[in-house]
Subunit: 391 residues, 2 copies
């Protein structure tokens, strides 16, 4: 019995639509074949979410073929057969002898394929961004008669505008984030260990909600006093106390798509400075959301936030958001001053207003939203509150 | 109030010992200053486990100074002050304006520091392995009078031999893996959704055991029928059924250190082919463990496994293990044919005997062990069984 095809999160037509957009961009850049190397873009173009990207892999998109061809480690090929919408013959497992081998790796298998299929002297697009210097040199050396063009973020920009099907999946992910935030409000109490609260919140992110499981775990942070002035500590072994502040950041995941959510909690009354910062941030968030509409720029949205926050007596030195979708951040548009990206319907962003002001004061709040025909739709139903826990 | 120093997982002397070993290697290679860029090596030399490595950061080790100097994103600097053993003045937060900036990034701050501190014409070690082509070019261009030497895996090889303190932490991590495996055996039942079982197992990995929490989550896979012939699918939304096979891979984490563990379960009686494979694998594992002693090579251990498995009528095409410690795999020694690394006391490995034979048959079992003065000590107390679940 061979590996059966698994349930597909999207219909075949959805993948063909995405591939058509990529092929149009390839034609515009006069590229004959594209080697997609980033996991998120492979997920986007095929449905594959198995975690094999720590070794070389490549999804090869040719103008000549409707479906792409995939190269991955031999032991991961069954996962590709199961998850990808493409036909069996297009999945290739390269030998395990190429793993932890100083002389050859999986990209040699990709290069062999390109040479054997008439691309030795053609224009080849390559996603270089996460490739090592050595891997890029290998492509240039072994395909010295070809022209290798850096296609970094070419697919990622196309991912920026979601289909309604993708939006539906991101709403499912947001419902999981909401369930986890509600769980956090239930389990964060004085005397509870941070790790135990984290355990309950993470369990909710995996279990999901409304009968839909989380399909993966994304970044997860519980930064509690005295660590609430920094964003990227997982959790600690301390217990929460009266007066603790807890900054939460996590995101539910559905089929690779993440809807991040951040909120700040206090056990007991917040400090006056924290309360004022919260008020400024929420006012800034509302100003930013009001500025969103097709035709506005990312910079204009950011300016609405920054100028409102400034009126409340605070500054934020980091950007106030970024494009979001598969694997959380899309490294393309940022909600920051000077980013002239024009908003279009069904672009999705994480309006990330985390603000780590000094060693004493950090605060987080965020919303994941899509641009609508007239404004913004936020996915979460969690109130924009500074949650105060009293026992 | 400034960010307080947090509890340190290791005493100061332990970090100074590690730094001395790195400095000796730098002297051997005639390097004046080393820029450590990989997260696991930064953890090793400082205690830092905050997750800021998705943007440039560098730990600078100079022969002239006892303590290293750290550069990270401004908002992550408080985490470094809290977690690192070094004094406050050695932690530098570079401006948020260097994030998502096409022209400059955090490595410019590192380079400025090197130039301002007399290293403009010196020998500079740089961990290049995870740097992009562009970052390496930046170092070469902006420090054109210096000699830039690739120090990839220089620190990682030093990590290979653990101190007794590190071994104690890896035993704690192994106890968490064991607790999670026991939980898995309790919750995997016919009719239970894979995601719900995953939720319970992951919650155990975070909660920890014996009063010691898991301090992070590492890779986690539940590959259940019909996906048991491939290793890297997180979990699915299917329910387990009578006859299901479930391959589990996860690892408890303490202070960055991981002790991985893999076991295979069946609901009901295993197939005859699976049972025979299990017997061959366990015999191979015992042969491999018996071959371990100081002075033996990785290749000899692998040969003991492969030849025993072959007698049982099976082959395994992938390596049978690798050095393990901070962030799971150390990309140095492999338990595979031809790896001439000589075993020394307190080297630690994941003897990873996962074997994905064809689209029908995959099987997993593993042990995390250290080399002792006379043989091997495995950290897990879980029996080397093919666990059969009956209800």
């Amino acid at each position: 019995m061979s590996m059966p095809k698994g349930p597909q999160p999207f219909p075949r037509n959805e993948y063909l639509r995405r591939l058509s957009a990529v092929k149009a961009e390839m034609e515009r850049r006069e590229i004959d074949v594209l080697v997609v190397t980033t996991s998120a873009n492979i997920t986007y173009l095929s449905g594959y979410t198995s975690k094999s990207g720590y070794v070389p892999q490549g999804l090869i998109v040719s103008l000549k073929n409707e479906e792409p061809t995939f190269f991955t480690r031999r032991q991961d090929a069954p996962a590709a057969l199961h998850q990808m919408f493409i036909e069996r013959t297009r999945v290739n497992g390269y030998p395990e002898a190429l793993i932890a081998n100083p002389d050859m790796d999986g990209f040699d298998a990709v290069i062999d394929f390109l040479r054997d299929n008439g691309f030795a002297r053609r224009q080849i697009g390559l996603e270089m961004n996460f490739l090592t210097h050595r891997s890029i040199e290998k492509f240039k050396t072994r395909m010295s008669d070809a022209t290798i063009v850096d296609f970094t973020n070419g697919v990622t920009w196309i991912r920026g505008i979601k289909s309604d099907l993708e939006i539906a999946v991101m709403r499912e992910a947001a419902a999981i984030s909401d369930a986890a935030m509600l769980r956090a409000r239930d389990v964060i109490r004085p005397g509870v260990r941070e790790a135990d609260a984290a355990s309950e919140i993470i369990a909710t992110l995996v279990r999901g909600t409304n009968g839909r499981a989380g399909t993966d775990l994304a970044s997860f942070y519980v930064c509690a006093s005295p660590r609430s002035a920094t964003p990227h500590i997982r959790w600690s072994e301390d217990v929460f106390r009266n007066g603790s502040q807890i900054n939460l950041e996590f995101g539910g995941v559905r089929h690779g798509y993440v809807s991040p959510l951040m909120r700040t909690l206090t056990i007991g009354k917040p400090s006056e400075r924290l309360r004022r910062l919260h008020e400024g941030e929420v006012a800034g968030m509302e100003a930013a959301l009001a500025a969103i509409k097709p035709g506005a720029t990312c910079s204009e949205v950011a300016e609405a936030f920054y100028s409102t926050l400034r009126k409340h007596g605070f500054e934020k030195d980091s950007r106030c958001g970024y494009a979001v979708g598969i694997e959380w951040t899309e490294p393309t548009a940022s909600l920051k001053l000077g980013d002239s990206t024009v908003l279009r319907p069904n672009m999705t962003f994480h309006l990330m207003l985390g603000n780590w002001i000094d060693e004493d004061l950090g605060y987080v709040i965020s919303e994941t939203f899509r641009v609508t025909e007239t404004g913004a739709e936020t996915f979460s139903r969690i109130p924009r509150d500074l949650f105060e826990i009293y026992v």
